[in-house]
Symmetry: C2
Subunit: 239 residues, 2 copies
């Protein structure tokens, strides 16, 4: 069923006060009419069967079961020059729970603060379309050293490198998740120009497992999706 | 090293006559100067170390080793409404050898013949950028029934379906390729609205193995890339 993400403060008793944008989306994009049903979700697992009324209101009919929160799967990606919107959208489809854009030495982009709002909206829309009750959290872009600082070593943290004889991400994730399927995972993807040797050394010193996505050359955006497609398939395999 | 794809008829003895477009690409995009080296490839495995000269010529210095032709990996994808350019580009990065655009019952697009030229050019450029000596072949869009007609049943033909309790593509491919790593593979991806029940029945009747990409909902373009990312990772794992 069609769904939209709301802020719980929009609910007063059994009435949901819709924003102009939500009314537009429900009526013009999803083509719902007064009396039609939809699901309102808070992006945090709560969801309500709702009925569209007139004048910007909806009636909350019943609270639906809250699905189990998925195990943490974080994508940490050095911002590519272009294409990060698509990465956010596709990463959401593939079940990511957190996205951390990274400014590495070879990152060329310094995004405006508006971008974060845009990415969060894309993640929300993609969640609605692919019926994911938990909307991924996107944190503001952060410099590589700042991000790594004080990070405790943890298994399930993978640092993807190109053109290096590192173990493949697929066998690494298969081995780890077959022992502990609910393990939190974090996968780190470099920028177009790759990591600097110093960045690789630093990540390994912080306990990151160096992994490879294969001997081919992938663009940064394709690399993010490849890593998440692998992890998502392994999770499905072990369900 | 930077590379461009040429037509072997451009070579006369040790001289390569460049087209205006190729000169522009070498000098303006790749910023090569007279005397700089690059690789000219025919997209079929042959490649030559070459040196840029003036006036639209290059000198062929030496023929490089022809890498082994990769095992066939064909993506058959019902054309999505938008985003097929990106599918072609990313599929090339992920090592596809053939792409067959498909017109299924729920395909909304009927592309102009110009599109095929465009897709082939994208595949060529992506091959150059990710240093793939074999450029994928893209065949003209074809209707579903016509495509399936007379096709012999073959192992390694996977038909991806959404929201169905089918075996996962990952374990299927892992089992098959661990026995015969050079097996030809074909993976078929549906349109935004999914396959019709009739199309699924027909494909199975022609020996296709029904497979799933997981319980999540993926857009058509993400599904193509997910399938190829899985196959590419399994191939790497077995290298």
């Amino acid at each position: 069923m069609q769904r939209i993400t709301i802020d719980p403060t929009q609910c007063v008793a059994d009435t949901l006060r819709l924003s102009d944008e939500q009314v537009h989306y429900l009526q013009r994009v999803l083509r719902l009419k007064s009396g039609d049903l939809f699901i309102a979700q808070d992006g945090e697992g709560q969801q309500w069967q709702s009925q569209l009324m007139t004048e910007g209101y909806a009636q909350i009919l019943t609270k639906l079961a809250t699905p189990q929160r998925p195990a943490t799967l974080e994508l940490v990606a050095a911002l590519p020059k272009t294409g990060f919107d698509d990465v956010v959208r596709q990463a959401t489809e593939l079940g990511v729970t957190h996205i951390q854009p990274l400014l590495s030495k070879r990152t060329l982009l310094n995004p405006s603060p508006k971008k974060l709002v845009r990415w969060q909206r894309i993640a929300q829309e993609a969640s609605e379309q692919c019926e994911r009750t938990y909307v991924p959290k996107i944190t503001p872009p952060i410099g590589f050293s700042h991000w790594l600082k004080g990070k405790p070593a943890r298994i399930g943290n993978y640092f993807c490198v190109a053109r290096v004889n590192a173990p493949g991400l697929l066998p690494c994730v298969q081995t780890l998740l077959s022992d502990s399927p609910q393990q939190s995972l974090q996968v780190v993807i470099g920028p177009e120009g790759g990591w600097t040797p110093g960045e690789i050394t630093d990540a390994i010193a912080h306990g990151y497992q160096e992994t490879s996505l294969g001997s081919g050359i992938l663009r940064a955006t394709t690399a993010s999706l490849t890593a998440l497609a692998i992890i998502s398939s392994v999770k499905e395999q072990l369900l």
